[in-house]
Symmetry: C2
Subunit: 483 residues, 2 copies
């Protein structure tokens, strides 16, 4: 069936979804042939692929294969011939889909796989009137298709199990996560859940309870973060505690009879349904204790929220604001304290200690704080000047573990002209020096990207601290070379 050796995909219907499919295949080394009568198709798909090029490879710590060849076709025949995978993404009208699927099957290899991006139609509906129905499946993606891994694969009774497996193998080979929907239903699984929230959300706007922004905030500052890593049931399993899912359902089951949604026709929580949910939850998560699940959840939440600090979106913005309100430390051993922090789990590695890169992350934070202290702050940088690090020498003296509190002091070795030569000491709570980082920075004009003299205020501030530190003993590790 779908032969992963033959890497040609045909994309029928461009737009955001078709373009996402094109990008996903193309960036995974497939040749992609597009057929879309829209005269804007080439531009639209090009824009999606441009987005994909800057983000999809960034997921990986290895390079993706060389891009395949992208072609645009004026006729269905040349687009689909020799294709191993054909993806239909035309508008959500059954008659139109029937027409397009018939055109595809007229010219497509009989053993290729035809996926439909339909959000709502059942595969048996798509297959109506087809001479080769077993070739057609639902393969429903999620926008942006080039990043989100989920694909709902929905076969009908006319679809052979081997076809489904071959299709899933192809999807996995381009980095997707196929979820086989075992029972046909309108809107499959994910869109039923999405649609439930959409409908409830529309009521909230309709009834003037909340605005679109308030609804988005209610999601992204709270349960959206939980769902991104565990979903609904595993989250509730944790909420149930050691007593498990049956306990949770016993606790929150009564609310099903309360007017908490517009939908009041809810399933009755019979002992049989409760037991089924509990058993499925055990099958899903029973290999981990609640305590272990809590830690996994917390580590995931911390990791994702730390990622959101970068853009300041949602929870990341809340953390940035709170962080700015936290007190900064003062002096230690006549040196300014430039970092005072706890080590997150995400900074540790397979050796069970903080990874070498994060020593330099801490050192970079110390240099940033020192720059602030001499006036080379965000405004100064926005005005076009900054310091670039040109050389670092790191001595790793002691292991640092998750949860350790680390303090960094910064000594100026030389601070005049374009040169900023600093020496950072990372100290643990017990007073042991865990690492030293000798670092050389040069003052830079951000427009020319060349070295330049610092502004007079920065030069003066730096000079004062340099003078203050000039009498201090030279650090033992200063000027050290390896070997």
């Amino acid at each position: 069936m779908s032969n992963v050796e033959n890497k040609k995909a045909a994309i029928i219907g461009g737009g955001v979804i078709g373009g996402g499919w094109a990008a996903r295949f193309l960036l995974n080394g497939w040749d992609v042939a597009v057929f879309d009568p829209d005269p804007q198709a080439e531009r639209k798909i090009g824009e999606v692929i441009e987005n994909a090029r800057r983000s999809l490879p960034a997921l990986y710590d290895r390079a993706l294969p060389a891009e395949g060849k992208l072609t645009f076709h004026q006729d269905m025949k040349s687009a689909v011939s020799d294709a191993a995978w054909i993806q239909e993404s035309v508008p959500e009208q059954l008659a139109l889909k029937h027409k397009i699927l018939a055109q595809i099957q007229e010219h497509a290899p009989t053993d290729c796989l035809i996926g439909s991006s339909t959000s709502g139609f059942k595969p048996s509906e798509l297959q109506e009137g087809s001479s080769n129905p077993g070739q057609i499946m639902v393969a429903h993606p999620f926008n942006p298709v080039y990043l989100l891994p989920l694909i709902e694969v929905v076969p009908s009774s006319a679809t052979d199990a081997s076809v489904v497996e071959a299709g899933c193998e192809t999807l996995r080979s381009v980095g997707l996560k196929p979820l086989v929907v075992r029972k046909e239903i309108d809107a499959h699984i994910a869109d039923r859940l999405l649609e439930a929230v959409w409908r409830e959300g529309l009521w909230l706007v309709h009834d003037e309870v909340a605005t679109t922004e308030e609804i988005d905030d209610a999601i992204r500052f709270g349960f959206g973060l939980r769902w991104a890593q565990m979903g609904l049931f595993e989250t509730y399993r944790i909420a149930g505690g050691e007593a498990g899912m049956e306990h949770f359902i016993g606790q929150f089951g009564p609310a099903l009879k309360w007017p908490w949604t517009k939908l009041m026709d809810v399933p009755e929580l019979t002992p049989e349904l409760t037991a089924r949910i509990a058993q499925q939850s055990d099958d899903q998560s029973g290999h981990m204790s609640i305590r272990a699940l809590e830690r996994l959840r917390d580590d995931n939440l911390v990791g994702m929220m730390r990622a959101l600090k970068k853009s300041g979106s949602g929870a990341g913005g809340t953390i940035n604001t709170h962080e700015a309100s936290l007190p900064t430390a003062s002096n230690l051993d006549d040196l300014p304290v430039t970092v005072d922090r706890q080590i997150p789990q995400s900074w540790t590695d397979y050796n069970g200690h903080m990874n070498e890169a994060h020593y330099v992350e801490v050192s970079a934070q110390a240099s940033d704080r020192f720059m602030e202290m001499i006036g080379a702050d965000a405004d100064y940088i926005a005005a076009g000047s900054s310091y670039f690090t040109v050389e670092n020498h790191v001595c790793y003296l002691e292991e640092i573990k998750v949860g350790d509190r680390i303090t960094v002091t910064t000594q100026v070795i030389r601070g005049e002209g374009k040169k900023l030569h600093l020496f950072h000491r990372l100290t643990k709570a017990d007073g042991a020096i865990a690492a030293t980082i000798e670092t050389l920075l040069l003052h830079v004009d951000l427009k020319t990207r060349r070295t330049s003299e610092p502004g007079s205020m920065v030069a003066t501030n730096l000079g004062e601290i340099a003078k203050l530190h000039s009498g201090l003993p030279k650090p033992e590790q200063l000027g050290r070379a390896i070997g």
Copy 2:
């Protein structure tokens, strides 16, 4: 009203939610007094606080204030006296909440704020029969309370606006994101959305369409990731493209009449409702173009999914699996290629180039790959031996920008006994060397954490490569010292 200078909180009702509140206040420097008749309360709250200590501080790149004092009380009076914030988290029974709130108000300062963790009751319901109703608000948190920022603050008509503002100020001071719900409604906002999905999900299990695990997968591999950073409406605004929200609603509005959920009583999309949604969406996101929103979304998704690679949860697991299937590079200039990758946006900093720490992250990946090549792989490490980096010297020669493709070659300088002395060159696509990292690693027994001799296979493999490289010219930057 609630005076943030007085940092004493009383937690009435422990458990997972009360414990989460206790941890949130405690770790932000507040004294916390707990009243809960459950003899297990101290143990249960202690477990929640233990979880919080390892995760909440990890969100920040600054230390939190010193922890407050935690006390457990046998009577309501001593728990609530002098408190600035009292949080009620007893079970979801209105009569019980009335009884407890009356006891609290009997002993509490009249100007303190009493928040209720209720998931469903309206504040006016909680205030029934109270002599000081304006003191009571809904302050509905989300589990884990010590990590998730969202708090739904729901006042009633009996609540003064100044009380709401003071309450929000207190909540923000412990890192929370208060969302003021302007119109009382059963289950507030977030739980209405959660409950809609819960009810639809229960139907899917009931009708044997999907298991709990399949439903969780349908969430966490797809829309859960979108929602964690933008929520529902802003995501759909992007899907609507440059044509905006009205276009999106026009496109997907018809599905509201289709049987995509069990809930079929949906609001009619009148021109007025459509215009209201479009206007609110403009107010919310209109300051950014669709293209800018797409990039923000993609950068957030990449950041969160890269964070999930660490645990392998959800999308992180899919990426790890796909990454392992990607081809690894071979030799370049007689040296093994140990890294071949693209630079993600999240690795760049305020100077518009790759931050210094990530040069070392790349170098660490190169050392990891080299260790694999000589047999010091995951199995070897699991068996109790590894290499630890003890010294690094980094020369930053050229800026690296987002999207740049980087190749690293690794030259063995010395590889015998416990010592592994490597020299990594980071090369850009144009052939320019962007950085060199001289690194010294020592072989370590992971049990004793002391240096040890490598296994014979590793020693042999390393010796062969060292011999091969012994004839190569010494790198210019070798043995370099700063200054």
